[in-house]
């Protein structure tokens, strides 16, 4: 039994499991920030009264949403980096990391846009009519009446998107971010196939521990903040 734990200790000294999870958390964090900004712009475009902006926003969402994330990440490496020599950071690893962040952000922005739009759709038309009826101009109506309710309605779908983004950050493996969790786990089980189940279980448990709190918090927040109708 002592040998077993000694072997495990050695395995975990050799492979940086915590660092791998930290990489995925960082990927998720930066991609989430960019996706939130881009997705908000797209959502504004899709709900604007200007037809050409609506068209551009809808086109982006329909194209990106239906493209596999793997294709986007591989595109970032094979085309954006290899072909066009776009370098986002001096170091090799930093560069792959940032390319993966951009790829993840491009993909998830489409879902952020849909989440925000579905939040706007939870606001009944009567709210806007009432705002206009008491004389609020467009910006005041949006700021005081519609957007606060829309934001509350979009918390649950945004939380779902964040969970999906965290799990999808493993796809950075396709973009040469070889020190993230999926690639690290693969190396470990190929190095020590006799500990196959245990290694998988540790990584899987790591994701369960990360994902379930996000789900609990966003469900709680959206229940608490939801406009009761």
């Amino acid at each position: 039994m002592d040998d077993y734990f000694a072997e495990l200790g050695e395995l975990f000294e050799r492979f940086n499991v915590v660092g791998a999870f930290w990489t995925n958390i960082q990927l998720t964090f930066w991609a989430a920030l960019i996706a939130l900004a881009l997705g908000t712009v797209l959502a504004l475009m899709r709900i604007s009264p200007i037809a050409s902006l609506r068209f551009a926003g809808t086109a982006y969402v329909n194209v990106i949403r239906n493209t596999p994330l793997t294709v986007i990440i591989i595109f970032m490496v094979l085309v954006v980096w290899t072909l066009f020599a776009v370098t986002l950071a001096p170091g090799f690893n930093d560069n792959f990391f940032r390319l993966a962040v951009i790829g993840l952000a491009i993909y998830h922005a489409a879902f952020v846009c849909e989440a925000i739009r579905s939040g706007v759709n939870t606001v009944p038309v009567g709210q806007a009519e009432a705002a206009r009826a008491i004389g609020l101009p467009f910006l005041a109506a949006a700021r005081l009446v519609i957007l606060p309710q829309a934001f509350r309605g979009s918390i649950a779908p945004l939380g779902n998107t964040l969970i999906a983004l965290l799990k999808n950050s493993t796809v950075a493996a396709a973009g040469s971010v070889s020190w993230e969790t999926a690639s690290t786990m693969r190396l470990m089980i190929e190095f020590r196939p006799d500990h196959l189940y245990l290694i998988f279980f540790i990584f899987a448990l790591g994701y369960v521990v990360l994902v379930i709190p996000i789900g609990v918090v966003t469900t709680w927040l959206s229940d608490r903040l939801a406009v009761k109708r």
Binding site: I50, T70, F75, L78, V120, P157, K167, V171, A174
Partner: protein, 291 residues
């Protein structure tokens, strides 16, 4: 156009919208022109590169065999995921607390673990432990997709039954059906019809995630495209074609899901809502709740 944000515009509003329309049209056109200019500068508009990505040889030896493998994996994964989902979804609604908790643990576990992690694990698992499995990358792709999407569908079954109007189960109990009978002959049939659009939307996720198979050397569409691109030195063109194939297939599925969500609503008392196509079902509580 009138929406929650905007009233139908008057004459001044219409002029503003017209101006905005032209201005943003110019911006969008400018972006397109910029992209084309960059592509031309890099020599990526060279017809030879595009012909090599689009000719009969590319389709016959790369895209179509790849697409066949993609569809084969997606089809088997879908059948398996629906079976898995109905089984564990009903398990989560079971009156037996042990079955309920076990199904809940299985579903929440596979919903939280990234598909790629499962694919890598299953690939090594099949190669080391179940060496009699003939096509191991294929088996790993299908099983990983079944476990993940099956758990999502299980959640759809559960939330589908939950979201039925309370009167349905009350009426079933009032005419003398037991709890299990009312679930089987009143609630489940309606929930299954109501969730059909969301299941079709989940097919989009299955199809997209099947592209992860390229990382374990399963010869699906993306892998075939990469091989073509490394031979012809045209990754931009080949990946564009592959992405378009995925986009068209997934878009058709989304249209079907949307149509079904409209036409099926008269056949069930549940809400027929299509999914968003990213994997997590809409508004299903993550914490297990008492029945």
């Amino acid at each position: 156009m009138s929406s929650v944000l905007f009233d139908s515009p008057g004459p001044r509003g219409r002029r503003l919208v017209m101006f905005g329309n032209v201005a943003s049209g110019v911006v969008v056109a400018g972006v397109v022109v910029f992209v084309l200019v960059v592509l031309a500068q890099q020599g990526q508009l060279d017809p030879a590169l595009w012909v090599a990505a689009l000719d009969g040889r590319a389709w016959q030896f790369y895209y179509l065999p790849g697409l066949q493998n993609t569809l084969r994996a997606a089809a088997f994964a879908t059948v398996g995921a629906v079976a898995f989902g109905v089984l564990f979804g009903v398990g989560r609604l079971s009156l037996n607390p042990l079955v309920r908790v076990l199904s809940g643990v299985v579903v929440e576990f596979f919903r939280a673990v990234p598909v790629l992690l499962m694919m890598f694990f299953l690939w090594v698992f099949f190669s080391r432990q179940l060496t009699w499995v003939p096509d191991r990358p294929y088996a790993a792709v299908v099983v990983a997709l079944v476990l993940y999407n099956g758990s999502v569908i299980a959640e759809l079954v559960r939330s589908g039954v939950r979201n039925l109007p309370r009167g349905q189960s009350e009426a079933a109990l009032a005419v003398g059906l037991t709890g299990a009978q009312s679930l089987r002959s009143v609630l489940l049939p309606q929930a299954l019809v109501a969730m059909l659009p969301a299941v079709i939307s989940q097919l989009v996720v299955v199809l997209k995630d099947s592209a992860l198979g390229t990382l374990i050397a399963y010869p699906e569409l993306l892998r075939a495209t990469q091989i073509l691109a490394s031979g012809e030195q045209n990754p931009l063109q080949a990946l564009t074609v592959a992405a378009l194939v995925f986009i068209v297939l997934n878009w058709l599925l989304s249209v079907l899901a949307h149509r079904l969500s409209l036409t099926l609503s008269s056949r069930t008392s549940g809400k027929t809502v299509e999914g968003v196509g990213i994997g997590n079902p809409v508004a299903a509580p993550v914490v297990p709740e008492p029945h």
